[in-house]
Symmetry: C2
C-alpha cells in the first residue's frame, strides 16, 4: 500500500488535525471526534449534522460551514461513527431550534444516528432525521437494507443547509431535505477499487479490462461486472438506469462526481456526454456540479446524480455557501 | 488502460466541450482550442493568458474567470499549445491594455509562447511574459532548461489575476507575477505514475515500496527513487528542500497540492504535518490551500509550495475569485 500516512491507525485523527489547522473557521473536537462551525451553536438556528465513515472526503467534514452543515461526525474509514460522537455533535450545534440529522442509508449509520437522536431527545433536543437512499443500482447491498445513500447526500446537505441558514424551522429543513432525496437518483461505475489504510490492499480486484457497474461508495458490488466501454456508452447506461428508476420531467440538478482517483479531464468529458444525452432525452439541466465530492478513498470511478429540482430547490442551491469543499456567493 | 474516455485522440477536445457545457460563463473556441471568459475582451483591462499541456486540470482552464485568468490555452496531454492557439487567445482577451502570458518553464511552452508574443506584438498588442520556475528539486530536467514550473503557477495566476482585475497596468501585473514566482519554491513526491490516454500505460514504473522524490508534473525524474516513508518524514524532507533552496523569513502562502490521484484525507494529513513542521522551523503560515489543483492526470502524489508573501500578495490572494477550480468572495 502506498499512501501519504503515518500509522494506519492514526489516519482519521491526523487528517482531522490537518483539517482543523487548515480551516480556523472550523473547530475539531479531537476527543469526541467531530467537526463543527467555530461559531456553533447559533441561537435560534436549526442545526444540521451529518456523518458516516471516513474516506468519502470532502463529504462530510468538508461541507461544514455557513450555508451547509453545522457539524460532521466522521467514523473511522468506512466505519460508522458511534452514538456518543453523534450526540456530542448534536449538542454542540443545538441552538434551541432543533437539529436535523442527515444520514446515508447504511445499517450502522442508521442505527447509531437513531440511538443518538433518542439520547438527544432525552436531553430535550428535538431531532429530525433525513435518510438518504438515492443509489438506484441495487435494492439491498453489503451493509444496507434498501437503497444506498451516495451522491444525493451532497444535494441534501447543500439545500437543507441553505434552508436552515435562512431561518427555516425544524420541520421545514427536514421536509426539503426529504424532498431532495426523494427527487434524486444516482448510479456509479468503478474502474478500480479504493484501498483502506487498515486493509492495505484494494477492497476488491477487477481484471484489467473490467469495471463494476452500480458500485457503492465502499466498493460494494453493483449490478454486474462488465467490460470497459467508451465513456459515452457508460454515461448513457448510467443515465438510463436513473431515468428508468425515477421520473424526471422537469429541470434537474446534475452532479458528475469523481470517486477520488478520477481526474477532472475525465469528469468534464463525462459531463459533456451526460449533458448531450439528457438533451436527447428531453431533460433540461437547471444546475450542475463537476468534481470529486462524494468519494471512496482513491477509487478510480464516477457517479452521476440527477435531482428533479423545484424552483425552491434551485433557489436554495444558489444560496451562498462557504465550506472547505463547496463555496460560492460568499 | 482504464479511463472514462472515448477515443484517446479526442480526450482534450471532448473534455473542453464538457467544460464549456458545464460553465456557460466561459466560452470555448473549439476551432482554435482555447477557453476564455465569456465577457472577454474587457476594455482597458490587462488580459491574463496561461496555458500548457493538458492533464494538469483544473490548471489552466479551470482557473479562467473573474479575478484570475482571462484565457487558457490547452495543448494536447503533456504537449505544448501551438503559437497560433496562443495568439488567438491573446487577441481574444486584448482590451487595449496589453496581455500578460503566464508560462511554466518547459522548453516547448517557452518557445511557443514567445513566438505567439512576437506575433501579437506585430499586431500591436503589448505582451509581457511571466516565467514560472518554482520547482526546487532539480536544476534541469526532461523538457526543461532550468527549474520547472509547478505549484506556484496557481499562486502567480491568482495574485496577478487579482491585480489585473482591480485595474493594474501591464507592467504592474507582470511585476507582481514575477515577484510571486521569485518568492516561491515547490517540491513533489510521486507514489505512482499517471497514465496518458495516448500511451495507455504508466509513464514510469515504481516498485511497490518506492516513490519518486522531486518528481515533475509530467512524471519527469526527480532527485532520486527512495523507499516509501511515513508522511511526516516525507513532508519534512520536502520542506527542508524548499527552505534550503530559498529564504523564507516571514509569513508564507502554503499550497498542499494533490497530483490527481491522492484523496483529500491524505492531503489534510499532509497539511497537518506541514503546518506543524513550519511552526517548528519558525515559519508562519499566512494563508493556505489544500486540494488537487496542479495535477498530473491520475498520478498519486503531492507537492508542497511555499511563497514568501508580502502584505500586497496576501491582499491580492484574498481578493474575490470566481472560476470553476478556485472560488471565494464572489
Amino acid at each position: 500500500m502506498k499512501k501519504f500516512i503515518n500509522d494506519p491507525a492514526d489516519v482519521v485523527a491526523q487528517s482531522l488535525a490537518g483539517l482543523a489547522a487548515a480551516h480556523p473557521e472550523l473547530r475539531v473536537d479531537t476527543e469526541e471526534q467531530y467537526i463543527v462551525r467555530a461559531d456553533a451553536p447559533r441561537a435560534g438556528k436549526v442545526g444540521l449534522v451529518s456523518g458516516g465513515g471516513s474516506g468519502h472526503e470532502p463529504l462530510h467534514g468538508g461541507f461544514v460551514g455557513p450555508g451547509m452543515l453545522d457539524a460532521a461526525v466522521p467514523g473511522e474509514v468506512f466505519t460508522s461513527p458511534v452514538p456518543d460522537q453523534i450526540l456530542a455533535a448534536t449538542k454542540a450545534v443545538d441552538g434551541g431550534a432543533g437539529v436535523v440529522h442527515v444520514v446515508k442509508n447504511y445499517t450502522g449509520d442508521v442505527m447509531n444516528f437513531q440511538l443518538a437522536a433518542e439520547l438527544a431527545t432525552d436531553e430535550g433536543i428535538s431531532v429530525e432525521t433525513v435518510l438518504v437512499d438515492d443509489d438506484v443500482a441495487v435494492e439491498d447491498s453489503t451493509w444496507t437494507a434498501g437503497r444506498r445513500g451516495t451522491g444525493a447526500t451532497l444535494l441534501v446537505e447543500k439545500i437543507a443547509g441553505a434552508r436552515a441558514e435562512e431561518g427555516g424551522k425544524l420541520a421545514e429543513v427536514a421536509a426539503i431535505g426529504r424532498e431532495v432525496n426523494a427527487a434524486s437518483g444516482s448510479f456509479a461505475y468503478a474502474l478500480t477499487s479504493g484501498t483502506t489504510p487498515a486493509a492495505g490492499r484494494p477492497g476488491f480486484e477487477l481484471p484489467a479490462d473490467e469495471i463494476e457497474a452500480g458500485v457503492g461508495i465502499h466498493g460494494e458490488p453493483g449490478r454486474r461486472r462488465e467490460k470497459l466501454r467508451p465513456a459515452k456508452e457508460l454515461v448513457r447506461s448510467a443515465l438510463d438506469a436513473i431515468l428508468d428508476a425515477k421520473t424526471f420531467t422537469g429541470p434537474v440538478l446534475l452532479l458528475v462526481n469523481g470517486l477520488g482517483g478520477t481526474p477532472l479531464i475525465e469528469l468534464y468529458l463525462i459531463y459533456g456526454e451526460a449533458s448531450a444525452y439528457l438533451e436527447e432525452r428531453g431533460v433540461a439541466i437547471a444546475r450542475q456540479l463537476v468534481g470529486n465530492y462524494v468519494t471512496s478513498l482513491d477509487m478510480a470511478g464516477m457517479s452521476l446524480t440527477l435531482c428533479q429540482a423545484t424552483d425552491e430547490m434551485i433557489r436554495l442551491w444558489d444560496a451562498p455557501v462557504r465550506t472547505p469543499g463547496l463555496r460560492w456567493g460568499a
